[in-house]
Protein backbone atom coordinates (compact mmCIF):
# COMPACT_ATOMS: atom_id res chain seq x y z
CA UNK A 1 0.00 0.00 0.00
CA UNK A 2 1.68 3.19 -1.08
CA UNK A 3 1.26 6.32 0.97
CA UNK A 4 -0.58 9.18 -0.72
CA UNK A 5 0.89 12.65 -0.20
CA UNK A 6 -2.02 13.46 2.10
CA UNK A 7 -1.09 10.64 4.45
CA UNK A 8 2.49 11.73 4.91
CA UNK A 9 2.37 14.87 7.03
CA UNK A 10 6.17 15.02 7.33
CA UNK A 11 6.85 15.56 3.68
CA UNK A 12 6.96 19.22 2.65
CA UNK A 13 4.23 20.11 0.20
CA UNK A 14 6.29 20.59 -2.96
CA UNK A 15 3.21 20.79 -5.12
CA UNK A 16 1.99 24.04 -3.57
CA UNK A 17 5.32 25.77 -4.05
CA UNK A 18 5.46 24.82 -7.71
CA UNK A 19 1.82 25.54 -8.51
CA UNK A 20 0.25 28.86 -9.36
CA UNK A 21 0.19 31.52 -6.62
CA UNK A 22 -3.02 31.57 -4.60
CA UNK A 23 -5.79 34.02 -5.38
CA UNK A 24 -4.82 36.08 -2.35
CA UNK A 25 -1.19 36.28 -3.44
CA UNK A 26 -2.20 37.30 -6.96
CA UNK A 27 -4.45 40.02 -5.60
CA UNK A 28 -1.74 41.26 -3.25
CA UNK A 29 0.77 41.33 -6.09
CA UNK A 30 -1.62 43.29 -8.29
CA UNK A 31 -2.55 45.74 -5.55
CA UNK A 32 1.02 46.49 -4.51
CA UNK A 33 2.21 46.56 -8.10
CA UNK A 34 -0.26 49.31 -8.97
CA UNK A 35 1.48 52.67 -8.48
CA UNK A 36 -1.65 54.77 -8.28
CA UNK A 37 -3.24 52.47 -5.75
CA UNK A 38 -0.13 52.44 -3.55
CA UNK A 39 0.23 56.25 -3.65
CA UNK A 40 -3.47 56.84 -3.05
CA UNK A 41 -3.59 54.27 -0.27
CA UNK A 42 -0.59 55.80 1.48
CA UNK A 43 -1.99 59.33 1.36
CA UNK A 44 -5.41 58.19 2.56
CA UNK A 45 -3.81 56.17 5.37
CA UNK A 46 -1.84 59.22 6.53
CA UNK A 47 -4.92 61.47 6.45
CA UNK A 48 -7.03 58.82 8.22
CA UNK A 49 -4.40 58.42 10.93
CA UNK A 50 -4.24 62.21 11.24
CA UNK A 51 -8.00 62.26 11.78
CA UNK A 52 -8.02 59.38 14.25
CA UNK A 53 -5.10 60.60 16.32
CA UNK A 54 -5.96 64.30 16.06
CA UNK A 55 -5.98 64.96 19.84
CA UNK A 56 -2.55 63.34 20.16
CA UNK A 57 -0.75 64.98 17.26
CA UNK A 58 -2.33 68.43 17.02
CA UNK A 59 0.17 70.87 18.55
CA UNK A 60 -2.56 73.24 19.83
CA UNK A 61 -6.25 73.32 20.69
CA UNK A 62 -7.97 73.99 17.32
CA UNK A 63 -10.59 76.17 19.01
CA UNK A 64 -8.33 78.26 21.26
CA UNK A 65 -8.33 81.83 19.98
CA UNK A 66 -5.69 84.35 20.76
CA UNK A 67 -6.46 87.71 19.24
CA UNK A 68 -2.99 89.01 20.06
CA UNK A 69 -1.62 86.34 17.74
CA UNK A 70 -3.83 86.83 14.67
CA UNK A 71 -2.74 85.97 11.13
CA UNK A 72 0.72 84.72 12.01
CA UNK A 73 2.30 83.61 8.71
CA UNK A 74 3.49 80.02 8.20
CA UNK A 75 7.06 78.98 8.90
CA UNK A 76 8.21 79.32 5.27
CA UNK A 77 7.67 83.06 5.46
CA UNK A 78 10.64 83.08 7.84
CA UNK A 79 12.79 81.35 5.19
CA UNK A 80 11.71 83.31 2.12
CA UNK A 81 10.61 86.72 3.38
CA UNK A 82 12.52 86.94 6.67
CA UNK A 83 9.24 87.51 8.46
CA UNK A 84 10.09 87.51 12.18
CA UNK A 85 6.51 86.60 13.16
CA UNK A 86 6.76 83.17 11.49
CA UNK A 87 7.99 80.66 14.06
CA UNK A 88 7.93 76.92 14.71
CA UNK A 89 5.23 77.46 17.36
CA UNK A 90 2.68 77.80 14.55
CA UNK A 91 4.11 75.88 11.60
CA UNK A 92 1.17 76.76 9.31
CA UNK A 93 0.56 80.10 11.05
CA UNK A 94 -2.71 81.19 12.67
CA UNK A 95 -6.08 82.31 11.29
CA UNK A 96 -8.00 85.57 11.71
CA UNK A 97 -8.87 84.61 15.30
CA UNK A 98 -5.38 83.51 16.21
CA UNK A 99 -6.20 79.78 16.12
CA UNK A 100 -3.40 77.41 15.15
CA UNK A 101 -3.84 76.59 11.44
CA UNK A 102 -2.09 73.20 11.53
CA UNK A 103 -4.27 71.97 14.38
CA UNK A 104 -7.39 73.07 12.52
CA UNK A 105 -6.23 71.27 9.38
CA UNK A 106 -5.66 68.09 11.40
CA UNK A 107 -9.10 68.27 13.02
CA UNK A 108 -10.64 69.23 9.67
CA UNK A 109 -9.65 65.82 8.28
CA UNK A 110 -12.17 64.30 10.70
CA UNK A 111 -15.03 66.32 9.24
CA UNK A 112 -14.16 65.62 5.62
CA UNK A 113 -13.71 61.88 6.19
CA UNK A 114 -16.83 61.62 8.34
CA UNK A 115 -18.95 63.38 5.73
CA UNK A 116 -17.43 61.44 2.86
CA UNK A 117 -17.99 58.04 4.50
CA UNK A 118 -21.47 58.68 5.88
CA UNK A 119 -22.81 60.30 2.71
CA UNK A 120 -21.37 57.51 0.56
CA UNK A 121 -22.97 54.85 2.77
CA UNK A 122 -26.41 56.49 2.78
CA UNK A 123 -26.36 57.10 -0.95
CA UNK A 124 -24.95 53.60 -1.50
CA UNK A 125 -27.88 51.98 0.29
CA UNK A 126 -30.43 54.05 -1.65
CA UNK A 127 -28.72 53.73 -5.03
CA UNK A 128 -28.00 49.99 -4.74
CA UNK A 129 -31.55 49.16 -3.69
CA UNK A 130 -33.01 51.12 -6.59
CA UNK A 131 -30.48 49.89 -9.14
CA UNK A 132 -30.51 46.21 -8.18
CA UNK A 133 -34.28 46.03 -7.99
CA UNK A 134 -34.66 47.80 -11.35
CA UNK A 135 -32.04 45.65 -13.06
CA UNK A 136 -33.36 42.39 -11.62
CA UNK A 137 -37.06 42.88 -12.28
CA UNK A 138 -36.80 44.94 -15.47
CA UNK A 139 -40.03 45.95 -17.23
CA UNK A 140 -42.32 48.35 -15.41
CA UNK A 141 -40.18 48.48 -12.26
CA UNK A 142 -37.19 49.40 -14.39
CA UNK A 143 -39.14 52.15 -16.13
CA UNK A 144 -40.16 53.69 -12.80
CA UNK A 145 -36.62 53.57 -11.40
CA UNK A 146 -35.25 54.98 -14.62
CA UNK A 147 -37.65 57.87 -14.29
CA UNK A 148 -36.57 58.47 -10.70
CA UNK A 149 -32.91 58.48 -11.76
CA UNK A 150 -33.55 60.93 -14.61
CA UNK A 151 -35.50 63.21 -12.28
CA UNK A 152 -32.69 63.17 -9.75
CA UNK A 153 -30.11 63.94 -12.46
CA UNK A 154 -32.18 66.88 -13.67
CA UNK A 155 -31.99 68.50 -10.23
CA UNK A 156 -28.84 70.57 -9.75
CA UNK A 157 -27.10 69.01 -6.72
CA UNK A 158 -25.37 72.09 -5.32
CA UNK A 159 -28.44 74.25 -5.70
CA UNK A 160 -30.81 71.78 -4.06
CA UNK A 161 -28.31 71.03 -1.27
CA UNK A 162 -27.78 74.75 -0.64
CA UNK A 163 -31.50 75.46 -0.58
CA UNK A 164 -32.38 72.59 1.75
CA UNK A 165 -29.50 73.32 4.12
CA UNK A 166 -30.33 77.03 4.15
CA UNK A 167 -34.03 76.49 4.81
CA UNK A 168 -33.66 73.71 7.38
CA UNK A 169 -30.72 75.19 9.21
CA UNK A 170 -27.21 73.94 8.64
CA UNK A 171 -25.47 71.36 10.79
CA UNK A 172 -23.12 68.48 10.18
CA UNK A 173 -25.99 65.97 10.35
CA UNK A 174 -28.12 67.85 7.85
CA UNK A 175 -25.22 68.22 5.43
CA UNK A 176 -24.56 64.45 5.62
CA UNK A 177 -28.24 63.60 5.13
CA UNK A 178 -28.73 66.01 2.24
CA UNK A 179 -25.62 64.78 0.41
CA UNK A 180 -26.55 61.16 1.12
CA UNK A 181 -30.01 61.66 -0.35
CA UNK A 182 -28.65 63.44 -3.43
CA UNK A 183 -25.59 61.45 -4.49
CA UNK A 184 -27.06 58.00 -5.17
CA UNK A 185 -27.51 58.35 -8.94
CA UNK A 186 -24.25 56.67 -9.99
CA UNK A 187 -24.84 53.74 -7.63
CA UNK A 188 -28.25 53.23 -9.16
CA UNK A 189 -27.03 53.48 -12.76
CA UNK A 190 -24.09 51.11 -12.29
CA UNK A 191 -25.97 48.56 -10.16
CA UNK A 192 -28.89 48.53 -12.59
CA UNK A 193 -26.64 47.71 -15.53
CA UNK A 194 -24.81 44.98 -13.60
CA UNK A 195 -28.00 43.41 -12.25
CA UNK A 196 -29.39 43.32 -15.79
CA UNK A 197 -26.33 41.38 -16.95
CA UNK A 198 -26.36 39.07 -13.92
CA UNK A 199 -30.01 38.19 -14.39
CA UNK A 200 -29.09 36.18 -17.48
CA UNK A 201 -26.36 34.13 -15.77
CA UNK A 202 -26.89 30.46 -15.00
CA UNK A 203 -26.37 30.77 -11.25
CA UNK A 204 -29.24 33.24 -11.10
CA UNK A 205 -31.59 31.25 -13.30
CA UNK A 206 -30.82 28.09 -11.31
CA UNK A 207 -31.51 29.92 -8.06
CA UNK A 208 -34.82 31.00 -9.55
CA UNK A 209 -35.55 27.41 -10.57
CA UNK A 210 -34.81 26.31 -7.00
CA UNK A 211 -37.54 28.66 -5.86
CA UNK A 212 -35.36 31.24 -4.07
CA UNK A 213 -37.11 34.50 -3.33
CA UNK A 214 -36.11 37.56 -5.40
CA UNK A 215 -34.89 39.17 -2.19
CA UNK A 216 -32.58 36.20 -1.53
CA UNK A 217 -31.31 36.19 -5.11
CA UNK A 218 -30.57 39.93 -5.08
CA UNK A 219 -28.86 39.87 -1.69
CA UNK A 220 -27.04 36.53 -1.86
CA UNK A 221 -26.44 35.83 -5.54
CA UNK A 222 -26.16 39.21 -7.25
CA UNK A 223 -24.86 41.59 -4.58
CA UNK A 224 -21.67 39.60 -3.74
CA UNK A 225 -20.78 39.60 -7.43
CA UNK A 226 -21.05 43.37 -7.83
CA UNK A 227 -19.13 44.37 -4.70
CA UNK A 228 -16.07 45.41 -6.70
CA UNK A 229 -18.03 47.86 -8.80
CA UNK A 230 -19.81 49.03 -5.67
CA UNK A 231 -16.50 49.89 -4.02
CA UNK A 232 -15.37 51.86 -7.07
CA UNK A 233 -18.58 53.91 -7.18
CA UNK A 234 -18.26 54.41 -3.44
CA UNK A 235 -14.87 56.10 -3.85
CA UNK A 236 -16.30 58.36 -6.56
CA UNK A 237 -19.24 59.43 -4.40
CA UNK A 238 -17.06 59.85 -1.32
CA UNK A 239 -14.83 62.25 -3.25
CA UNK A 240 -17.93 64.00 -4.56
CA UNK A 241 -19.43 64.40 -1.09
CA UNK A 242 -16.17 65.78 0.31
CA UNK A 243 -15.91 68.36 -2.49
CA UNK A 244 -19.57 69.31 -2.14
CA UNK A 245 -19.32 69.74 1.63
CA UNK A 246 -16.33 72.00 1.07
CA UNK A 247 -18.28 74.03 -1.48
CA UNK A 248 -21.33 74.31 0.81
CA UNK A 249 -19.21 75.32 3.78
CA UNK A 250 -17.30 77.73 1.57
CA UNK A 251 -20.58 79.46 0.72
CA UNK A 252 -21.36 79.62 4.44
CA UNK A 253 -24.21 77.12 4.26
CA UNK A 254 -22.52 73.88 5.23
CA UNK A 255 -20.75 72.98 8.44
CA UNK A 256 -20.97 75.91 10.84
CA UNK A 257 -18.19 77.69 12.76
CA UNK A 258 -16.27 77.11 14.91
CA UNK A 259 -15.92 73.56 13.48
CA UNK A 260 -12.66 73.36 11.50
CA UNK A 261 -14.05 72.23 8.12
CA UNK A 262 -11.55 72.80 5.30
CA UNK A 263 -14.23 74.45 3.16
CA UNK A 264 -15.10 76.78 6.02
CA UNK A 265 -11.43 77.61 6.52
CA UNK A 266 -11.23 78.53 2.84
CA UNK A 267 -14.24 80.79 3.15
CA UNK A 268 -12.65 82.60 6.09
CA UNK A 269 -9.33 82.78 4.25
CA UNK A 270 -11.05 84.37 1.24
CA UNK A 271 -11.53 87.57 3.24
CA UNK A 272 -7.78 87.83 3.73
CA UNK A 273 -6.96 87.05 0.10
CA UNK A 274 -5.29 90.39 -0.59
CA UNK A 275 -3.04 90.42 2.45
CA UNK A 276 -2.49 86.79 3.41
CA UNK A 277 -2.94 84.65 0.29
CA UNK A 278 -1.07 81.74 1.96
CA UNK A 279 -4.18 81.11 4.02
CA UNK A 280 -6.11 79.74 1.07
CA UNK A 281 -3.35 77.47 -0.17
CA UNK A 282 -3.15 75.19 2.87
CA UNK A 283 -6.77 73.97 3.31
CA UNK A 284 -7.11 73.75 -0.50
CA UNK A 285 -4.05 71.52 -0.76
CA UNK A 286 -5.40 69.35 2.06
CA UNK A 287 -8.68 68.89 0.16
CA UNK A 288 -6.81 68.26 -3.08
CA UNK A 289 -4.65 65.56 -1.48
CA UNK A 290 -7.59 63.78 0.13
CA UNK A 291 -9.75 63.76 -2.99
CA UNK A 292 -6.77 62.82 -5.16
CA UNK A 293 -6.00 59.87 -2.87
CA UNK A 294 -9.60 58.65 -2.97
CA UNK A 295 -9.76 58.98 -6.77
CA UNK A 296 -6.46 57.12 -7.20
CA UNK A 297 -7.78 54.32 -5.02
CA UNK A 298 -11.00 54.20 -7.04
CA UNK A 299 -9.15 54.06 -10.38
CA UNK A 300 -6.75 51.49 -8.93
CA UNK A 301 -9.52 49.27 -7.62
CA UNK A 302 -11.16 49.32 -11.02
CA UNK A 303 -7.90 48.27 -12.69
CA UNK A 304 -7.10 45.57 -10.13
CA UNK A 305 -10.54 44.00 -9.91
CA UNK A 306 -11.35 44.00 -13.60
CA UNK A 307 -8.23 43.26 -15.64
CA UNK A 308 -10.24 43.44 -18.85
CA UNK A 309 -11.16 47.05 -18.06
CA UNK A 310 -7.53 48.14 -17.89
CA UNK A 311 -6.54 50.64 -20.56
Amino acid sequence: MSATPQDDKNLPDFGAALSEPSAGQMLRRRVFGHTGLVIGGTILLIIALMALLAPLIAPHDPYAHNLANRLVPPIWHDWFYDDPRATWTHIFGTDHQGRDYLSRIIYGARISLLIGFSAAIISGVIGCTLGLVAGYYGGRVDMVVNFIITTRLAMPVILVALAVVALMGSSLTIVVLVLGFLLWDQFAVVMRTLAMQMREFDFVTSAQALGCSPRYIIMREILPNVLNALLVVMTIEMANAILLEAALSFLGLGVQPPLPSWGLMLSQAKDEIFFDPWMITIPGLALLMLVLAINLIGDGLRDVTSPEGRS
Partner: protein, 305 residues
Protein backbone atom coordinates in the same frame (compact mmCIF):
# COMPACT_ATOMS: atom_id res chain seq x y z
CA UNK B 1 -38.21 58.46 -35.59
CA UNK B 2 -41.43 60.28 -34.69
CA UNK B 3 -42.27 57.70 -32.05
CA UNK B 4 -38.76 58.05 -30.63
CA UNK B 5 -39.16 61.82 -30.47
CA UNK B 6 -42.62 61.59 -28.93
CA UNK B 7 -41.51 59.21 -26.17
CA UNK B 8 -38.56 61.40 -25.31
CA UNK B 9 -40.78 64.49 -25.17
CA UNK B 10 -43.25 62.82 -22.81
CA UNK B 11 -40.40 61.66 -20.58
CA UNK B 12 -38.91 65.18 -20.56
CA UNK B 13 -42.23 66.75 -19.57
CA UNK B 14 -42.81 64.15 -16.85
CA UNK B 15 -39.35 64.76 -15.39
CA UNK B 16 -39.95 68.52 -15.33
CA UNK B 17 -43.24 68.03 -13.49
CA UNK B 18 -41.60 65.63 -11.00
CA UNK B 19 -38.80 68.12 -10.31
CA UNK B 20 -41.31 70.92 -9.77
CA UNK B 21 -43.30 68.74 -7.36
CA UNK B 22 -40.20 67.83 -5.35
CA UNK B 23 -38.95 71.41 -5.26
CA UNK B 24 -42.33 72.76 -4.22
CA UNK B 25 -42.79 70.17 -1.49
CA UNK B 26 -39.24 70.56 -0.19
CA UNK B 27 -39.39 74.34 0.06
CA UNK B 28 -42.79 74.21 1.74
CA UNK B 29 -41.77 71.57 4.25
CA UNK B 30 -38.37 73.07 5.02
CA UNK B 31 -39.76 76.53 5.72
CA UNK B 32 -42.97 78.44 6.23
CA UNK B 33 -43.53 80.72 3.21
CA UNK B 34 -45.52 83.23 5.28
CA UNK B 35 -42.60 83.67 7.70
CA UNK B 36 -40.12 83.77 4.82
CA UNK B 37 -42.20 86.48 3.13
CA UNK B 38 -42.72 88.56 6.25
CA UNK B 39 -39.07 88.60 7.26
CA UNK B 40 -37.50 88.26 10.69
CA UNK B 41 -39.03 91.32 12.30
CA UNK B 42 -42.70 90.54 11.61
CA UNK B 43 -45.20 89.95 14.42
CA UNK B 44 -47.40 86.86 14.66
CA UNK B 45 -50.43 88.87 13.54
CA UNK B 46 -48.64 90.13 10.44
CA UNK B 47 -47.55 86.61 9.56
CA UNK B 48 -51.13 85.37 9.94
CA UNK B 49 -52.35 88.20 7.74
CA UNK B 50 -49.86 87.31 4.99
CA UNK B 51 -50.78 83.66 5.29
CA UNK B 52 -54.42 84.44 4.62
CA UNK B 53 -53.77 87.07 1.94
CA UNK B 54 -51.41 84.86 -0.09
CA UNK B 55 -53.44 81.71 0.39
CA UNK B 56 -50.69 79.83 2.23
CA UNK B 57 -53.38 78.37 4.50
CA UNK B 58 -54.89 76.39 1.63
CA UNK B 59 -54.04 72.69 1.24
CA UNK B 60 -50.58 72.14 -0.27
CA UNK B 61 -52.03 70.28 -3.27
CA UNK B 62 -54.20 73.25 -4.21
CA UNK B 63 -51.26 75.64 -3.81
CA UNK B 64 -49.09 73.40 -5.98
CA UNK B 65 -51.70 73.14 -8.73
CA UNK B 66 -52.08 76.90 -8.63
CA UNK B 67 -48.33 77.45 -8.80
CA UNK B 68 -47.76 74.89 -11.56
CA UNK B 69 -50.53 76.21 -13.79
CA UNK B 70 -48.97 79.67 -13.73
CA UNK B 71 -45.42 78.30 -14.00
CA UNK B 72 -46.33 76.51 -17.24
CA UNK B 73 -47.00 79.87 -18.88
CA UNK B 74 -43.84 81.37 -17.38
CA UNK B 75 -45.41 83.13 -14.41
CA UNK B 76 -43.47 82.27 -11.26
CA UNK B 77 -45.00 84.93 -9.06
CA UNK B 78 -43.22 87.82 -7.37
CA UNK B 79 -39.91 87.78 -5.53
CA UNK B 80 -40.47 88.25 -1.79
CA UNK B 81 -37.47 90.51 -1.49
CA UNK B 82 -37.08 92.39 -4.74
CA UNK B 83 -40.77 92.99 -5.48
CA UNK B 84 -40.43 92.19 -9.17
CA UNK B 85 -41.75 89.26 -11.19
CA UNK B 86 -39.51 86.20 -10.79
CA UNK B 87 -39.55 85.58 -14.54
CA UNK B 88 -38.10 89.06 -15.21
CA UNK B 89 -35.34 88.43 -12.67
CA UNK B 90 -34.46 85.10 -14.22
CA UNK B 91 -34.55 86.37 -17.79
CA UNK B 92 -32.23 89.23 -16.90
CA UNK B 93 -29.73 86.82 -15.32
CA UNK B 94 -29.73 84.05 -17.92
CA UNK B 95 -27.35 85.65 -20.48
CA UNK B 96 -24.38 85.80 -18.07
CA UNK B 97 -24.83 82.16 -17.04
CA UNK B 98 -25.21 80.98 -20.63
CA UNK B 99 -22.07 82.86 -21.63
CA UNK B 100 -20.18 81.43 -18.67
CA UNK B 101 -21.42 77.89 -19.37
CA UNK B 102 -20.65 78.20 -23.08
CA UNK B 103 -17.15 79.53 -22.41
CA UNK B 104 -16.49 76.82 -19.81
CA UNK B 105 -17.69 74.07 -22.14
CA UNK B 106 -15.58 75.48 -24.97
CA UNK B 107 -12.53 75.57 -22.72
CA UNK B 108 -13.09 71.97 -21.61
CA UNK B 109 -13.58 70.67 -25.15
CA UNK B 110 -10.73 72.64 -26.68
CA UNK B 111 -8.38 71.31 -24.00
CA UNK B 112 -9.72 67.77 -23.75
CA UNK B 113 -10.35 66.59 -27.31
CA UNK B 114 -6.90 67.28 -28.80
CA UNK B 115 -5.24 65.84 -25.69
CA UNK B 116 -7.51 62.81 -25.73
CA UNK B 117 -6.82 62.18 -29.43
CA UNK B 118 -3.06 62.58 -29.04
CA UNK B 119 -3.08 60.36 -25.94
CA UNK B 120 -4.97 57.68 -27.87
CA UNK B 121 -2.64 57.85 -30.87
CA UNK B 122 0.42 57.38 -28.68
CA UNK B 123 -0.60 55.34 -25.63
CA UNK B 124 1.87 55.44 -22.73
CA UNK B 125 3.88 58.25 -24.34
CA UNK B 126 4.71 61.45 -22.45
CA UNK B 127 1.67 63.14 -23.91
CA UNK B 128 -0.57 60.32 -22.67
CA UNK B 129 0.92 60.66 -19.21
CA UNK B 130 0.53 64.47 -19.23
CA UNK B 131 -3.10 64.07 -20.26
CA UNK B 132 -3.61 61.58 -17.45
CA UNK B 133 -2.01 63.99 -14.97
CA UNK B 134 -4.21 66.88 -16.16
CA UNK B 135 -7.28 64.64 -15.83
CA UNK B 136 -6.43 63.29 -12.38
CA UNK B 137 -5.71 66.79 -11.07
CA UNK B 138 -8.86 68.24 -12.60
CA UNK B 139 -11.01 65.66 -10.89
CA UNK B 140 -9.47 66.19 -7.47
CA UNK B 141 -9.26 69.98 -7.38
CA UNK B 142 -12.15 71.81 -5.72
CA UNK B 143 -13.46 74.21 -8.39
CA UNK B 144 -13.78 77.16 -6.05
CA UNK B 145 -10.27 76.65 -4.70
CA UNK B 146 -8.81 76.57 -8.21
CA UNK B 147 -10.70 79.81 -8.86
CA UNK B 148 -9.34 81.35 -5.67
CA UNK B 149 -5.79 80.38 -6.57
CA UNK B 150 -6.17 81.92 -10.03
CA UNK B 151 -7.52 85.05 -8.34
CA UNK B 152 -4.46 85.24 -6.11
CA UNK B 153 -2.08 84.88 -9.04
CA UNK B 154 -3.81 86.84 -11.81
CA UNK B 155 -5.73 89.45 -9.84
CA UNK B 156 -3.79 90.01 -6.62
CA UNK B 157 -0.16 89.46 -7.69
CA UNK B 158 -0.14 90.19 -11.42
CA UNK B 159 -3.23 92.39 -11.66
CA UNK B 160 -4.01 91.09 -15.16
CA UNK B 161 -7.59 89.95 -14.72
CA UNK B 162 -10.55 91.44 -12.85
CA UNK B 163 -11.66 89.42 -9.82
CA UNK B 164 -15.34 90.32 -9.79
CA UNK B 165 -18.19 91.30 -12.08
CA UNK B 166 -19.12 90.35 -15.65
CA UNK B 167 -18.72 93.60 -17.55
CA UNK B 168 -16.20 92.52 -20.20
CA UNK B 169 -14.89 89.32 -21.75
CA UNK B 170 -11.88 89.45 -19.45
CA UNK B 171 -14.25 88.91 -16.53
CA UNK B 172 -15.20 85.53 -17.96
CA UNK B 173 -11.70 84.08 -18.37
CA UNK B 174 -11.02 82.82 -14.85
CA UNK B 175 -14.58 81.67 -14.07
CA UNK B 176 -14.79 79.79 -17.37
CA UNK B 177 -11.45 78.07 -16.82
CA UNK B 178 -12.35 77.12 -13.25
CA UNK B 179 -15.75 75.75 -14.24
CA UNK B 180 -14.48 74.10 -17.42
CA UNK B 181 -11.46 72.40 -15.93
CA UNK B 182 -13.60 70.23 -13.68
CA UNK B 183 -15.39 68.85 -16.76
CA UNK B 184 -12.17 68.30 -18.72
CA UNK B 185 -11.24 64.83 -17.36
CA UNK B 186 -14.56 63.32 -18.40
CA UNK B 187 -14.18 64.59 -21.98
CA UNK B 188 -10.55 63.54 -22.15
CA UNK B 189 -11.19 60.00 -20.94
CA UNK B 190 -14.11 59.53 -23.28
CA UNK B 191 -12.19 60.89 -26.29
CA UNK B 192 -9.18 58.72 -25.53
CA UNK B 193 -11.21 55.56 -25.01
CA UNK B 194 -13.35 56.26 -28.08
CA UNK B 195 -10.35 56.95 -30.32
CA UNK B 196 -8.49 53.86 -29.07
CA UNK B 197 -11.46 51.71 -29.96
CA UNK B 198 -12.25 53.34 -33.29
CA UNK B 199 -8.65 53.33 -34.54
CA UNK B 200 -8.50 49.56 -34.01
CA UNK B 201 -11.58 48.94 -36.10
CA UNK B 202 -11.69 47.36 -39.54
CA UNK B 203 -12.88 50.39 -41.45
CA UNK B 204 -9.87 52.38 -40.29
CA UNK B 205 -7.61 49.63 -41.59
CA UNK B 206 -9.53 49.67 -44.85
CA UNK B 207 -9.25 53.45 -45.10
CA UNK B 208 -5.51 53.22 -44.51
CA UNK B 209 -5.15 50.39 -46.98
CA UNK B 210 -6.92 52.48 -49.61
CA UNK B 211 -4.04 54.90 -49.22
CA UNK B 212 -6.07 57.78 -47.79
CA UNK B 213 -3.95 60.48 -46.27
CA UNK B 214 -3.45 60.09 -42.48
CA UNK B 215 -5.33 63.25 -41.53
CA UNK B 216 -8.35 62.20 -43.59
CA UNK B 217 -8.38 58.84 -41.82
CA UNK B 218 -7.93 60.52 -38.44
CA UNK B 219 -10.56 63.26 -38.74
CA UNK B 220 -13.08 61.92 -41.20
CA UNK B 221 -13.13 58.26 -40.26
CA UNK B 222 -11.73 58.26 -36.73
CA UNK B 223 -12.78 61.37 -34.84
CA UNK B 224 -16.20 61.57 -36.44
CA UNK B 225 -17.12 58.24 -34.94
CA UNK B 226 -15.32 58.71 -31.66
CA UNK B 227 -17.12 62.01 -31.13
CA UNK B 228 -20.65 60.58 -30.93
CA UNK B 229 -20.60 59.89 -27.17
CA UNK B 230 -18.99 63.31 -26.63
CA UNK B 231 -22.21 64.98 -27.77
CA UNK B 232 -24.23 63.38 -24.96
CA UNK B 233 -21.51 64.14 -22.44
CA UNK B 234 -21.43 67.79 -23.53
CA UNK B 235 -25.17 68.05 -22.90
CA UNK B 236 -24.90 66.47 -19.46
CA UNK B 237 -21.88 68.56 -18.52
CA UNK B 238 -23.50 71.79 -19.66
CA UNK B 239 -26.43 70.96 -17.41
CA UNK B 240 -24.07 70.33 -14.49
CA UNK B 241 -22.28 73.60 -15.22
CA UNK B 242 -25.55 75.53 -14.88
CA UNK B 243 -25.83 74.06 -11.37
CA UNK B 244 -22.11 74.45 -10.64
CA UNK B 245 -22.28 78.11 -11.64
CA UNK B 246 -23.75 78.83 -8.19
CA UNK B 247 -20.34 78.59 -6.53
CA UNK B 248 -18.32 80.23 -9.29
CA UNK B 249 -20.72 83.10 -9.95
CA UNK B 250 -20.98 83.82 -6.23
CA UNK B 251 -17.22 83.78 -5.87
CA UNK B 252 -16.68 86.15 -8.81
CA UNK B 253 -19.86 88.19 -8.08
CA UNK B 254 -21.14 87.63 -11.61
CA UNK B 255 -24.79 88.63 -12.01
CA UNK B 256 -25.98 85.30 -13.42
CA UNK B 257 -28.52 82.67 -12.51
CA UNK B 258 -26.19 80.98 -10.01
CA UNK B 259 -25.50 84.19 -8.11
CA UNK B 260 -29.22 84.95 -8.12
CA UNK B 261 -29.81 81.48 -6.69
CA UNK B 262 -27.33 82.08 -3.90
CA UNK B 263 -28.78 85.51 -3.13
CA UNK B 264 -32.29 84.08 -3.02
CA UNK B 265 -31.25 81.14 -0.88
CA UNK B 266 -29.57 83.35 1.68
CA UNK B 267 -32.66 85.60 1.81
CA UNK B 268 -35.19 82.73 1.84
CA UNK B 269 -36.75 84.11 -1.34
CA UNK B 270 -38.72 80.93 -2.03
CA UNK B 271 -40.43 81.72 -5.38
CA UNK B 272 -37.06 82.56 -6.96
CA UNK B 273 -35.42 79.37 -5.63
CA UNK B 274 -38.27 77.19 -6.91
CA UNK B 275 -38.18 78.86 -10.30
CA UNK B 276 -34.40 78.56 -10.71
CA UNK B 277 -34.34 74.86 -9.83
CA UNK B 278 -37.16 74.24 -12.29
CA UNK B 279 -35.53 76.31 -15.05
CA UNK B 280 -32.22 74.46 -14.67
CA UNK B 281 -33.99 71.09 -14.64
CA UNK B 282 -35.91 71.98 -17.82
CA UNK B 283 -32.64 73.07 -19.45
CA UNK B 284 -31.02 69.79 -18.45
CA UNK B 285 -33.89 67.74 -19.85
CA UNK B 286 -33.98 69.72 -23.11
CA UNK B 287 -30.21 69.47 -23.54
CA UNK B 288 -30.40 65.71 -23.16
CA UNK B 289 -33.24 65.57 -25.64
CA UNK B 290 -31.17 67.56 -28.12
CA UNK B 291 -28.20 65.29 -27.52
CA UNK B 292 -30.37 62.25 -28.23
CA UNK B 293 -31.54 63.82 -31.47
CA UNK B 294 -27.99 64.77 -32.46
CA UNK B 295 -26.87 61.22 -31.77
CA UNK B 296 -29.71 59.82 -33.82
CA UNK B 297 -28.58 62.10 -36.64
CA UNK B 298 -24.90 61.13 -36.36
CA UNK B 299 -25.50 57.43 -35.85
CA UNK B 300 -28.35 55.95 -37.90
CA UNK B 301 -28.31 52.78 -35.78
CA UNK B 302 -29.80 54.70 -32.83
CA UNK B 303 -32.73 56.08 -34.86
CA UNK B 304 -33.73 52.72 -36.19
CA UNK B 305 -33.10 50.64 -33.09
Amino acid sequence: MLRFLFRRLVMAAAVAVAVSLITFTLTNFASDPAIAMAGDTASAAEIQQIREREGFDRPLVVQYADWLSSAVVGDFGYSYRMRVPVSDLILSRIPVTMMLGGAALTFAIVLAIPMGVLAALRPNSWIDRTALGVAVLGQAMPTFWFALMMMVVFSVFLGWLPASGARSWQHFIMPAIALGYYATPAFMRLTRAGMLEVMRSDYIRTARAKGLRPHVVLFHHGLRNAIIPIVSLAAVQFGFMLGGSVVIETLFSMPGLGFLAWESISRADLPVIQAIVLVIAVFYVLLNLMADLANAYLDPRIRIG
